[in-house]
């Protein structure tokens, strides 16, 4: 054209010839983005697009969503059921009948020999609510083991526990719309741009419109911390002190909302007495934030009118994670910031359906936020399912993090894992391996046959993936949203719902009960059960959900289109209808750095990867941004040890060691290192993972390590590659 051409060259650009769009909700994190998957005329998924009129993402997607259509063609999907006698044998391909029969008979054998609770089941936050409900029914009413949990113990248990302690029930009270209403946002241990890019987008849009203060509390200078108005680089594991000190300032300076405290809370006097000790000067010594800054932040927050707190794993994955959540709730209760636009305690959830498992999977209780501890709840569910109430245990059994030590002790002999990968996700890998070796029977149910935990499996169930079946997810803001079926699962892989109902048929008790076999039928059961509960689905239907691009519960006759916030009237779920203000003394029980292990080891997520990389590690256009693990290290600390950029080093903890590539960055303190959580045989070989006493969630983010320089860099590079090959 310019430069002398007289005719225009024809232009060829790649075209995605979409024949049909299918409505789904993203299957990665709990943001809950609506996305359409585009199919070509042969039914192959060729593209995705954000749904423009969906309130959550407003047409936007993060890179994982942009490339989500590629999961349907990813490598190493499980296509055929596998079986073997011992884990030293190779797997043989077999039929569903054989694997299901074998599993059912092994469950019955183990339960017969060692007791009902000697067979444990650990599920996930990745399957649909209808599937969770059916699994819960199978476990609670048919199999009858009380050692049944979800891997949500690794991510959201502290939030659940904190909500229950403060408000009397689980259920995040706020929503994304609060960003548009708030006058101050406090983010603790949340790296929003990396973990939840679309929630960050919503926040950024609100922030650009109306410049309210954003305060980020994080020991690492994340991009969120960098863009915040105030960044508090707190010392690892001391957030509780900071929160108590904020409450101290608010109470002593008379900034609290006394009317709200009087009307809607209990336990104020005890709480006040405790926080008196946490003056900012005392807090400065422990958490490293200047007293003046603590006072300033407390005043900004209390005087904002509407202020909100968001948090993620920085709070939850700690030895006092549940206390941290309660402390956030305390802060918001004394400032009257619960249940009002822009004022909330909003836990930013992890997995796409972590909320669904909390609501209906029965793993910590019974469906619809019912508990095993309440006789009326047990009786109600027994009647509904047509089983005897005495079959239910009277209190919750072990959490995932207690199930593995119980395997070590020989209390649990068999395990069924559903869409979870503890070999990569649990802290202290060496100990987890030993636990697996003790098992008499392990069944792994997963969409991928190369899931690392399969190394120890006796039976492998090839399950379907997101989009290969229909069902609903609940997101961070309690929005129930729909995934339509995009295509069939590959080979003989089956939807998890099918696997659960087939399993039920192989038990005497299961034969006597009815199990709904389609998602819409199950959804009707859920609606009935949720009527009148906090998580009320009663006015929802799959079609209505798609039309509304997701509905926030409660959705009932009072709120037929759902409701944005909980506790708007200040009535809480505790028996007295009040929220509890709970005094939280700080105890430092972390493995702190010392002479021998001088660095804090922190962990976290990368935007391009999902959990243990079974999905994203196979999509080149995501995985290429972090194809191998790395460790953020301060350049000044590295120089002292003679470590250069892009060197491989060996990191040692009291548990084990791991080889990792060094990235030099000042975003970590000179006494701290950071390793992303996604990689097999890396951070979790090192992490200690002390448990929170209430939530049983591991403290992934506070361990002590030592760093060794490696002479032979080529051997280290080869070891790094070999470590990732399972």
């Amino acid at each position: 054209m310019l430069f002398g051409r007289r005719t225009k060259n024809p232009i060829q650009l790649p075209v995605k010839a979409v024949d049909k769009w299918v409505y789904t909700t993203c299957g990665y994190c709990s943001t809950g983005c609506s996305l359409d998957v585009g199919l070509d005329d042969k039914g192959a998924a060729i593209t995705t697009r954000g749904v423009a009129d969906a309130d959550v993402n407003r047409g936007k997607l993060c890179l994982k969503g942009i490339y989500e259509f590629e999961v349907f063609r990813s490598l190493n999907r499980g296509r055929v059921p596998l079986i073997r006698k011992t884990r030293s044998d190779p797997f043989t391909e077999t039929t569903w009948d054989e694997t299901l029969n074998k599993t059912a008979s092994e469950i019955q054998r183990i339960q017969g020999l060692y007791g009902r609770d000697s067979f444990a089941i650990v599920s996930t936050g990745q399957i649909y609510t209808e599937e969770f409900y059916t699994l819960g029914k199978l476990v609670r009413a048919v199999i009858g083991t009380n050692n049944y949990d979800g891997n949500t113990t690794l991510c959201m248990a502290s939030a659940v526990s904190g909500y229950k302690r403060s408000f009397g029930s689980d259920g995040p009270p706020g929503c994304y719309d609060d960003f548009d209403q708030t006058n101050c946002l406090l983010a603790i241990g949340s790296n929003l741009p990396e973990q939840h890019p679309i929630i960050y987008y919503r926040l950024k849009e609100a922030y650009d419109r109306r410049h309210f203060p954003i305060i980020v509390v994080d020991p690492r200078v994340t991009l969120f911390a960098q863009m915040a108005d105030i960044h508090l680089p707190v010392k690892p594991g001391t957030d509780l002190v900071l929160l108590n000190a904020l409450a101290h300032v608010i109470l002593t300076e008379g900034l609290a909302d006394q009317n709200y405290i009087q009307a809607h809370t209990s336990g104020f006097e005890d709480f006040k007495k405790l926080v008196e000790a946490y003056n900012p000067e005392m807090a400065e010594k422990i958490c490293g934030i200047p007293a003046k800054m603590i006072r300033k932040v407390a005043r900004i927050y209390a005087e904002a009118g509407a202020a909100m707190t968001i948090w993620t794993m920085g709070i939850n994955q700690s030895t006092h994670g549940s206390d941290g959540v309660v402390a956030i709730n305390n802060l918001n209760l004394i400032t009257g910031n619960i249940g009002k636009p822009g004022g909330t305690s909003l836990s930013i959830t992890g997995q796409c359906n972590a909320m669904g498992t909390r609501e209906f999977s029965s793993c910590s209780g019974l469906p619809g936020y019912r508990t095993l501890e309440k006789e009326e709840d047990r009786q109600f569910m027994a009647d509904y399912w047509g089983v005897e109430a005495s079959f239910f245990p009277q209190k919750r059994g072990m959490a995932e993090t207690d199930i593995f030590p119980a395997i070590e002790r020989g209390e649990i002999k068999g395990l069924w894992l559903i869409a979870t990968n503890p070999m990569t996700s649990m802290p202290d890998t060496a100990r987890i391996r030993k636990s697996f070796e003790q098992l008499e029977f392990l069944v792994v149910q997963d969409a991928y046959s190369d899931v690392e935990t399969n190394e120890y499996a006796h039976v492998f169930f090839p399950a379907s993936l997101w989009g290969e079946k229909e069902g609903v997810f609940t997101n961070t803001e309690r929005r129930v949203n729909l995934v339509r079926k995009v295509m069939d699962p590959p080979g003989e892989a089956k939807p998890d719902l099918w696997i659960f109902t087939e399993m039920a048929k192989r038990f005497e008790r299961g034969k006597e009960m009815t199990f709904s076999t389609t998602a819409t039928e199950v959804f009707e059961e859920i609606k009935t059960l949720s009527k009148g509960r906090l998580c009320d689905y009663s006015e929802m239907s799959h079609d209505k959900i798609e039309k509304q691009r997701g509905i926030q519960w409660p959705c009932n006759t009072e709120h037929p289109k759902g409701n944005r916030r909980l506790y708007e009237t200040g009535v809480f779920q505790h028996a007295d209808g009040r929220a509890k203000l709970i005094p939280l003394p700080f105890v430092d029980n972390n493995e702190c750095p010392d002479k021998e292990y001088p660095f804090w080891l922190n962990s976290g997520r990368l935007v391009e990867q999902w959990h243990t990389r079974t999905k994203t590690g196979k999509i080149g256009n995501l995985n290429k941004f972090s194809p191998t693990p790395f460790m953020e290290m301060n350049p000044r600390a590295a120089a002292k040890l003679g470590i250069a950029a892009m060197d491989y080093v060996r990191v040692h903890s009291r548990r084990d060691s791991a080889v990792v590539l060094v990235q030099l960055t000042e975003r970590v303190a000179p006494d701290a290192v950071f390793i992303p959580m996604h990689y097999f045989n890396c951070i979790n070989r090192l992490a200690l993972g002390l448990l929170d006493p209430y939530s049983r969630q591991p403290a992934y983010k506070q361990s002590a390590v030592r760093i060794e320089c490696l002479e032979d860099q080529e051997a280290a590079a080869r070891e790094n590659v070999a470590m990732r090959n399972y």
């Binding site: 054209m1 009129d53 942009i66």
Partner: protein, 614 residues
């Protein structure tokens, strides 16, 4: 990614206040090239004509560096839309970081093609695969025309053209002209989550943005190609920045406090080494091609011209040494043929070599190939008529007597022109190490050194065989050798001064030259000194024929060694102007490590296992 319902519409109909861009060139392109307006675009076989009043105005990206969170959404939306394999990307986010914990500043920079006002890629491309359209001022490249020489990847200061080693062709950002034609923003802009990336008519400040600056720390000098990208960066910055890709450079705040950052060396201990393992590169065939071409031209020039100007017709004549003379010519033809072939195979798609002449009007690569092609043809013809006079003796005497001379002169002229064009190919502003007269100096010097060396060996050998004294011959050939060495010395010296004067990327090259490759570079200079002394000695000290020839041969071996090392260094020491890369993706060091450790065997790592090597 496609946005449902097309809600993210690009805001058309903005009134234009600026006639000229900040570079001083008109924004309304239809006013400059009225004849080309109002001809419909053809995209995927369909003619399109958008009713956008600004369609013929120069468009470009706007990037707010304060807002980018490196979420990769722009890169992914781009790769998804363009169906790119993991080892390619039209848009890349790189990172620089400065300050000290916790007062640390990261700047993430998302960069694709800047659809320049002076598209150096378009001018450099020998095949005319590039077009700058009047529509939106988009610079588009047609991978079907491209034959994969990769020259555009050399001249572009921003890493925009992507050479795919698998397909053997270049492709790049196409501004999403198909989306623009239907009123949508480019896919990357639609995907941006942090309000960092925007798009529009040049010099119009996008909604919600305040600045339209031409530069950003780490962004190359905009005068190279007059890029159509504007920046906003208001956040207070630290004094210096480092790159996440572990590169050797940092960015230091310049004089005053004007937020202008200059590239500086990283303050770490630099160990002097041999760097043998780092001498090989993708450009190895070019080491061969350039050296052989210069050698052939040099040898022929000396062979043809020396007798005419010095009266030494006897020592170098076909009459005196028919076998040596004939053999030498045949040898030159064969070696040159081999070099041309190997440089052709160096192309991603060698079968389309003939497209090299498409852009004689702008591209020095086209001209170089044309001139070298002519040189080769004339050299072949000259060799034929010299060896087989019968081919022309049937012609009228006036013709047949003069044809060899005409061919010889033609060969000399095209050869010289070829080397000059070759030199001009390396005058690339985006590659400061080459962009200096020394590149030409060393090219001609190599011709003189290797040419005279070979003539001495061939005719010296012939003389020894015929039992003729070698004194006069070597004495004569020592002069061009000496001149070549002096030219080389002056070039290298001048270059060194220039590297220091120029600073920035050139200074990093200088550090590599003295550091990683320090020992071999010093050895090379020592050998140069020895050769200087040796060539002087040949003009002064008479030696017996056998001894002289042995000494000459030894000198030739040393010279050859020096030329190969020197040329290899010429290619590996280049530090191009680039935008920063991330820790893994696009980081050359990681890519090399991944190939070595075996990580690259997994396609999802995004590193192609074996580089295309012809």
């Amino acid at each position: 990614m496609v946005v449902a319902g097309m809600t993210v519409k690009y805001d058309f109909g903005v009134t234009m206040n600026n006639i000229n861009s900040q570079h001083g060139t008109p924004i309304a392109l239809d006013q400059v090239y009225p004849a080309l307006a109002n001809i419909p675009l053809e995209i995927n076989g369909k003619e399109t004509e958008a009713d956008n009043p600004d369609r013929y105005k120069q468009h470009g990206f706007h990037f707010n560096a304060d807002n980018c969170i490196a979420c990769h959404a722009c890169e992914s939306a781009c790769s998804e839309k363009n169906d790119l394999p993991p080892h390619l990307a039209f848009r890349t986010v790189g990172t620089i970081e400065g300050g000290y914990y916790p007062d640390v500043t990261r700047i993430n920079i998302s960069m694709a093609c800047n659809h320049c006002e002076d598209p150096v890629c378009l001018k450099g491309c020998p095949t005319r695969a590039y077009t700058k359209y009047l529509e939106y001022g988009a610079v588009l490249q047609d991978p079907d025309i491209c034959f994969g020489c990769g020259y555009c990847t050399w001249v572009c200061p921003y890493n925009a053209p992507q050479l795919d080693p698998v397909k053997g062709e270049v492709s790049k950002c196409n501004m999403c002209v198909d989306r623009l034609e239907v009123g949508l923003q480019p896919a990357c802009v639609s995907a941006c989550l942090g309000n960092a990336l925007d798009f529009g008519v040049m010099e119009e400040t996008p909604k919600g943005q305040e600045e339209i600056k031409l530069t950003l720390p780490s962004f190359p000098d905009p005068s190279i190609s007059r890029p159509n990208i504007r920046f906003q960066q208001k956040r207070e910055l630290p004094e210096s920045f480092g790159r996440m890709d572990a590169g050797e450079m940092t960015y230091q705040r310049g004089e005053g406090n004007d937020n202008h950052f200059k590239i500086a060396e990283k303050k770490t201990k630099k160990l002097e080494g041999w760097g043998f393992d780092k001498l090989r590169s993708r450009e190895d065939p070019l080491v061969l091609f350039t050296l052989v071409s210069q050698f052939t031209v040099g040898a022929f020039l000396l062979l043809f011209l020396l007798p005419s100007f010095t009266g030494m017709a006897v020592a170098l004549s076909p009459e005196a040494h028919p076998f040596a003379f004939g053999g030498l010519l045949v040898c030159l033809v064969l070696v040159q043929a081999f070099a041309l072939l190997s440089s052709t195979l160096h192309l991603g798609k060698p079968q389309y070599f003939y497209r090299a002449f498409n852009n004689l009007r702008h591209s020095w690569v086209s001209r170089e190939i044309a001139a070298m092609g002519a040189f080769f043809t004339l050299l072949g013809a000259y060799t034929l008529v010299t060896l087989f006079p019968i081919l022309i003796t049937w012609l009228p005497e006036a013709l047949s007597q003069n044809i060899p001379d005409w061919l010889g002169w033609g060969t000399c002229l095209t050869g010289l022109l070829g080397i000059y064009c070759m030199y001009r190919c390396y005058r690339i502003p985006a590659r400061p190490y080459w962009d200096h007269w020394h590149s030409g100096g060393v090219f001609f010097a190599s011709g003189l050194i290797l040419g005279s060396g070979l003539l001495g060996l061939v005719f010296g050998g012939a003389g020894l065989f015929a039992n003729v004294g070698l004194g006069p011959l070597l004495n004569l050939l020592a002069w061009p050798l000496e001149i070549g060495l002096i030219l080389q010395g002056i070039s290298l010296y001048g270059h060194r001064i220039d590297l220091d004067r120029r600073g920035e990327e050139a200074a990093i090259s200088r550090i590599l030259m003295d550091g990683v490759h320090g020992k071999i570079h010093r050895l090379r200079l020592m050998v140069w000194g020895i050769l200087m002394l040796a060539s002087l000695a040949f003009t002064l000290i008479p030696l017996s024929a056998a001894l002289a020839l042995a000494a000459w041969s030894l000198a030739l071996v040393l010279a050859l060694f020096n030329e190969i090392i020197g040329r290899a260094l010429f290619y590996v020491l280049v530090v191009p102007t680039t935008v920063p890369r991330s820790f893994f993706w696009g980081n050359e060091r990681f890519e090399n490590d991944a190939r070595k450790s075996g990580l690259a065997a997994l396609p999802q790592v995004g590193v192609v296992e074996e580089e295309h090597s012809g």
